[in-house]
């Protein structure tokens, strides 16, 4: 069940909705190009209009990710990123900014670390919860129990192909928001955000979603504006990763401000 009273992420999204708009959720991989820079980059997003941070835990086989994010996370792994580096990085970020921090991770690193241990350490570090792209609620009972015990958000995905039953299941299993996949595909900038996204958000509303945030393919302020016209949040990933890779923190700050301007009520 969605319970925004204890979800820091839910509260942040609601604050932006109350202001007449919606939230901007920014993704960057941990450890790219190195751990300290990835911490600074997350802080940069938070200081330039991003309302919720989504930090990717680098993984060897990221099947939901396109080339930009794959390249960044493979680099982080090559530089020696370890799962245990996640917790001090989150702690450092939340000590600097009030923006809630979610971790986006494929399931196996959590399973090997131990789901409850991961939840407890993330909670102790001040993290808000997990987005789990290859864990469907059907396989998620261990994570649900661990997240509940540690009072963490759990963000599951909804896709244009999902049945009504599955949308309902995603809504009931999620806390914080439901990650609304805009298109049938993987991460990466697209010139148009699929019209399927608006339809999917409407279908999620029909089964009682609190916060439906749309991701995949959003890379311009105009797209943010369009998405926030019907959704509760817009998730931006590859565009930020590319900015960081090509122009460092300075370019990231500029791109972040620009994209976040799409969420400002005019």
């Amino acid at each position: 069940m969605i319970d925004s009273t204890t979800s820091k992420v839910g509260a942040a999204i609601h604050a932006r909705k109350d202001a007449g708009s919606g939230a901007v959720i920014g993704y960057l991989p941990l450890g790219f190009p190195d751990i300290q820079t990835s911490i600074d980059a997350a802080v940069t997003l938070a200081n330039n209009g991003v309302d919720v941070l989504e930090l990717g835990l680098p993984y060897s086989d990221p099947v939901m990710d396109g080339p930009v994010i794959q390249a960044a996370t493979q680099r982080a792994l090559a530089e020696g990123y370890r799962v245990r580096d996640t917790f001090p990085a989150v702690r450092e970020i939340v000590s600097q900014v009030k923006t809630p921090v979610l971790v986006m991770t494929y399931w196996n690193p959590v399973a090997q670390f131990g789901a409850q241990r991961f939840a407890d350490e993330l909670s102790a570090a001040g993290g808000a919860g997990l987005i789990t792209p290859d864990l469907i609620p059907d396989e998620g009972s261990e994570w649900m129990a661990a997240a509940t015990a540690a009072d963490l958000d759990r963000v599951f995905l909804a896709a244009p192909s999902s049945s009504e039953t599955r949308l309902k299941q995603a809504v009931e299993a999620s806390r914080g928001f439901v990650y609304t996949v805009s298109t049938m595909g993987i991460t990466g900038a697209r010139s148009d955000v699929d019209s399927a996204a608006a339809t999917l958000v409407a279908r999620l509303r029909a089964v009682g979603v609190d916060n439906a945030c749309v991701g995949l393919g959003i890379s311009t302020a105009q797209q943010v504006r369009e998405v926030l016209a019907y959704a509760d949040g817009a998730i931006i990933g590859s565009a930020f990763v590319r900015a960081l890779a090509e122009g460092g923190l300075e370019r990231l700050a500029a791109v972040s401000s620009d994209l976040a301007s799409g969420s400002r009520v005019s």
Partner: protein
């Protein structure tokens, strides 16, 4: 009495499941339903049986190999000749079944991953036969060591995508095929080539291959009057092995052996023996045994055989290992290549390097159990594709030193 041969997914004990992005769930549900319907539909079964008979060349024969068996302790060694199937391996059994299903589902495009290229060739063949579009993902390392099969797929009209990410082998080819499928699932069927991946693939692919063991059971009974004592098969993902094992799972007298790729030796760390390592994890849609570090990052596998060079294994094998029904052991590159040469020189049959792992296992079992033992070997594929690799290995190419050592005939 409990029976093992008809256990179906999504779970095999603690293994299996569907660890996939939500976007794929609808397609997996659709496939599961279509497969269940087809499995009890006489017209589907008749169509597949007709293809087996008139296209693949089933039933595949068995061949007793006494000259090879002299090097295996004098045991009786019988080969199940999947190498004689059209396209040169067992892979066609599964591909024709899945292509027929894809047609029923109205899909117009087939995608596949391939390691050695056998599954890619089989999929490209089915696409040509049914007039479907075909894209095959293949690790860059494998496109180089299996260049002949790349050319075969292109001749058949398939697009071959060389995958340059990660370890650039089978695992990475599967990642890219999954990424394609997430985006194309409406028009495309992913012809997964082994008994791994999310449900229903492990069950469905097993069922399409169990004809191997069903035929072999009757053939060996007719030839010898009794069931074999031992059955050996190579294990990458494990499709030919599950295919030959299935009909014997509930015969307690038949000991089943799966031989994993031991590469340079387990102690070297350079191998593909995920069951031998025995670490449970989740990769590419299923919970199973996989090669991983303490962080759950997949470790690169190594094998001279592209088809076995995969850091995980199908979930049913993980379960059969855990309950002790099947023994799993590693065979090194050197042992496999020795068996490759031995079968070639003694019987005039050039096996795939993958299948040579099963032959090496048969030699070990024969030496241990002697002339009273009957060993059935899954000869899952032929070695035409491996001529260049084997020639390099044995130094038979022009300008290299010819080493005519080990096999004394």
């Amino acid at each position: 009495m409990t029976t093992l041969h008809d256990v179906v997914g999504p779970y095999f004990g603690e293994f299996g499941g569907r660890y996939v992005p939500e976007s794929l769930v609808a397609a997996l549900d659709e496939l599961d339903e279509a497969y269940k319907a087809a499995a009890v539909d006489p017209s589907f079964q008749a169509e597949l049986a007709e293809l087996h008979k008139t296209y693949t060349g089933r039933p595949s024969i068995i061949t007793e190999v006494p000259r090879f068996a002299e090097h295996a302790g004098g045991a009786r060694v019988i080969l199940k000749r999947e190498d004689l199937n059209h396209t040169g391996s067992h892979k066609i059994n599964n591909v024709l079944g899945q292509a027929l299903l894809a047609k029923r589902l109205g899909k117009t495009r087939l995608i596949a991953e391939t390691g050695a290229g056998q599954h890619g060739v089989a999929t490209a063949t089915a696409a040509a036969l049914f007039g479907m579009e075909c894209v095959v993902y293949m690790g860059q390392v494998d496109t180089e060591r299996q260049a002949l099969n790349v050319a075969r797929m292109r001749l058949l009209g398939a697009e071959v995508v060389s995958v340059a990410t990660g370890s650039r082998t089978l695992k990475d080819a599967i990642n890219d095929a999954l990424r394609d499928w997430v985006a194309s699932v409406e028009t495309t069927h992913y012809v997964l080539g082994t008994v791994a991946g999310p449900h229903p693939f492990p069950t469905m692919v097993r069922d399409f291959h169990k004809i191997i063991g069903e035929e072999a059971r009757e053939q060996v009974l007719a030839l010898t009057g009794k069931l074999p004592d031992y059955i050996t098969a190579c294990i990458g993902g494990g499709s030919n092995a599950i295919g030959i094992f299935n009909a014997f799972l509930d015969d307690p007298s038949v000991e089943l052996y799966g031989f994993e790729a031991g590469g340079d030796g387990i102690e070297s760390g350079r191998h593909a023996a995920s069951i031998t390592l025995g670490k449970t994890g989740v990769l590419q849609g299923a919970k199973s045994y996989l090669m991983q570090d303490d962080d759950g990052q997949t470790v690169e596998s190594h094998s001279i055989s592209a088809g076995l060079d995969y850091p995980a294994v199908g979930p049913e094998h993980a379960w059969l290992a855990k309950i002790g029904r099947v023994h799993y052991e590693p065979i090194t590159d050197a042992e496999a290549m020795e068996a490759f040469r031995l079968l070639t020189r003694t019987e005039g049959i050039i096996p795939a390097i993958e299948s040579a792992h099963a032959l090496a296992g048969a030699i070990k079992l024969g030496l241990k159990h002697g002339p009273d033992a009957t060993i059935l070997v899954s000869l899952s594929g032929r070695g035409d594709k491996d001529v260049a690799s084997a020639s390099r290995y044995f130094g038979l190419l022009e300008g290299e030193i010819v080493d005519d050592g080990a096999v004394q005939l």
